[in-house]
Symmetry: C2
Subunit: 408 residues, 2 copies
């Protein structure tokens, strides 16, 4: 495998295909914020604005500015979205709505905790880019609200009967793994470490079930498996995405055994979720083989595959396990063959089980300027690191493929 040319492939796709798509089509110059409901060619087919995607786009452009180069166009795009979010995205007390109309009038109440997490990420990165303490303040205060809501994220909008079976979900601890490191510069060392330890504990020791060898989506309040629709649900992409967050923490905390475990879970979940008939990774599964609630269970979603590429590459980079590379080759081939649109920029998001395009949007209520560019960035960077190490250690490599298991 030629890591150098692979790195170039991911980098080129990011800067020549995907980022221009969002810069060209997404910015709403009239009302502020971003259009995210973009059709195959970039046409705006709906103008509602979803806080998840508004915030993630602010984050993405800020991240590129911080990590790639301080390009004014990127910073301007980030500030453009942040201004809209500051003005319209919350209720004045940093309770972040779920959806706004084009002009910023709230449509859907602040019931969704992930509107808060992505707002935190957005303003944390933008603070890093600008040094503006107002952004830091928004990120820090929103983070505090998230922690205060963690035990009952939906609050008054929860439809669970009080005192009934209460399940806790994997999504929040998973996102918090990433979030703590995202706003590291805004947290004290003590709080940062406490957060990292807690979310690693939740992900790796609570939601990962050694008796099953998999990560489950929901557990009872006292951390037991639940034989219910929600308790049987497995979302391989979710679990795999969490593993690269954990690997990043493992690297940060210098804990190779944590990285090793995250790499093993990545491999396990890719094998578990892989569709041996048509290729690709299933969206939802039932751990007991019961009928899943989600009618879309067998579909192949862009983010699942892109996050898997990241975890496999980081797994290989950090442990040298050649199985990561074997799986990377397979998922890379599937992803580029099926999700990349050969005719127009940006990637498809939704394929049916056979890998045919089910919905040809490039952006919508849930797909925005986030997983594709973040994944291309992460893969590009990881491939470059792998390539540099390989070049450094084996200056005249005879076998380019699968040769650096013992680099670490």
């Amino acid at each position: 495998m030629n890591f150098n040319s692979l790195a170039a492939l991911y980098k080129t796709e990011l800067f020549e295909n995907v980022i221009p798509f969002w810069l060209n089509h997404s910015l709403d110059r009239e009302c502020g914020g971003y259009f995210t409901c973009l059709g195959r060619t970039g046409n705006v087919y709906d103008t509602d604005k979803f806080i998840w995607l508004q915030a993630r786009e602010v984050w993405l452009f800020s991240m590129l500015y911080n990590n790639v180069e301080p390009r004014k166009e990127w910073l301007d795009a980030a500030i453009h979205g942040a201004a809209f979010l500051e003005k319209h995205g919350h209720d004045g007390a940093l309770n972040w709505y779920f959806a706004l109309d084009r002009r910023g009038a709230p449509l859907v109440e602040p019931y969704n905790i992930f509107s808060y997490t992505f707002a935190t990420m957005a303003f944390g990165q933008l603070n890093k880019a600008t040094g503006n303490p107002r952004y830091a303040d928004i990120a820090r205060r929103t983070f505090e609200i998230i922690l205060s809501k963690a035990s009952n994220p939906k609050g008054k909008w929860s439809k669970a009967s009080p005192g009934s079976r209460t399940l806790k979900g994997f999504a929040l601890p998973m996102i918090l793994c990433n979030l703590a490191m995202e706003i590291e510069h805004l947290l004290s060392e003590e709080i940062l470490h406490a957060r990292m330890e807690e979310c690693v504990h939740q992900v790796m020791e609570v939601f990962y079930r050694p008796e099953l060898g998999i990560v489950v989506e929901n557990l009872t309040a006292d951390n037991q498996l639940s034989d219910t629709f929600e308790g049987r649900s497995v979302n391989p992409g979710h679990a795999i995405e969490a593993m690269w967050f954990v690997m990043d923490i493992g690297r940060r905390l210098k804990r190779p055994e944590l990285i090793e475990q995250a790499k093993n879970i990545t491999l396990r979940m890719v094998e578990y979720g892989w569709d041996t008939t048509y290729g690709g990774i299933f969206y939802f599964m039932d751990r007991k083989g019961c009928p899943p609630l989600q009618l879309e269970w067998d579909q192949k979603l862009w983010w699942v595959h892109i996050e898997t590429l990241i975890s496999l590459l980081k797994g290989y980079e950090l442990t040298g396990d050649r199985r990561c590379l074997e799986w990377f080759e397979r998922v890379h081939a599937y992803t580029w063959d099926h999700f990349k649109d050969p005719e127009y920029p940006e990637w498809f998001g939704y394929l049916n089980r056979r890998g045919e395009v089910l919905i040809d949007l490039k952006g919508g209520k849930w797909k925005g300027c986030f997983h594709v560019p973040r994944g291309l960035y992460q893969c590009w960077q990881t491939l470059e690191r792998i390539d540099r190490k390989a070049t450094l250690i084996t200056p005249t490599p005879k076998t380019e493929t699968l040769c650096n298991e013992n680099l670490l």
Copy 2:
């Protein structure tokens, strides 16, 4: 078309296949109520109890008892479910929960208006079967609560921002069309007529849009089309199901022009929703051809097809339009070929676009003892009426097929 043997086919399937399935597998003899999460062979894979399906099963067995024959087994099955619903299904003030656990502890709050509508149907039919005034009282009082909630069905569980874009949905007026006639014996003539007029108005003059020729799922509060995800959404099965409710009202009110209109809308919506590539009727569509929100948009669902058979047969019975019969033949063939399980009793519910079984449950959170048996019953009865009329008018029919356009 041999209506007589077709009628026998539907009747046999109802009494020899589908009803025994539910009687054999669904009754929870230990805790009361019904299991509805039943796998392909009838195995119970989950024990949660959903009020929609508990109530619909009470209704179905009561309806058979009332309309077919007073078989004790059916009445016992209905009372078995009703006792559980009375004891556990509501909060003491007839606010009907959405879900209970196996023993009846509430799991999900009474946020869903259709828990109320199906409870009303259930207790209305059971009152008819037993004469028990307690059941009549439950039905009548629940119906009043439904009407009081009609303008804001989700109440405190609504996530719409106050004062924001408010859309009204087609589902409630549609169900109310059916419900008014269901509990006709419990309403004064005046209230019954007012309800029928109102819901026919909503369905046929508000949600049906002559400028588009279709029924839409959501409108603005002032009855305008809305160019939003919800406002563009079309659910052909929903629209078609409503049409046989309207035809029943048309027959009841002796309004042939209403029947004619409902038959025309049925034909229009079947054509609109038909998948010309793989056959079957799509689940969701976007009236402007934009990407739909529902990832399951292209799936083929049992209830859509079964309700379509009813509307087409009633349309034919009541207007003689031969296009109804042509479409009935096509949808009948698709339905029996794809939804009927050739190996085990009851029908599949969820097929992918190609008509392959996507999830092989026979019952779940949304599929219970309702659409299949109600549809078989309605088709059987309608086919027998058509056959009787045909025999009466043309005692020695030379062309059995498509010959009775002018019967009415």
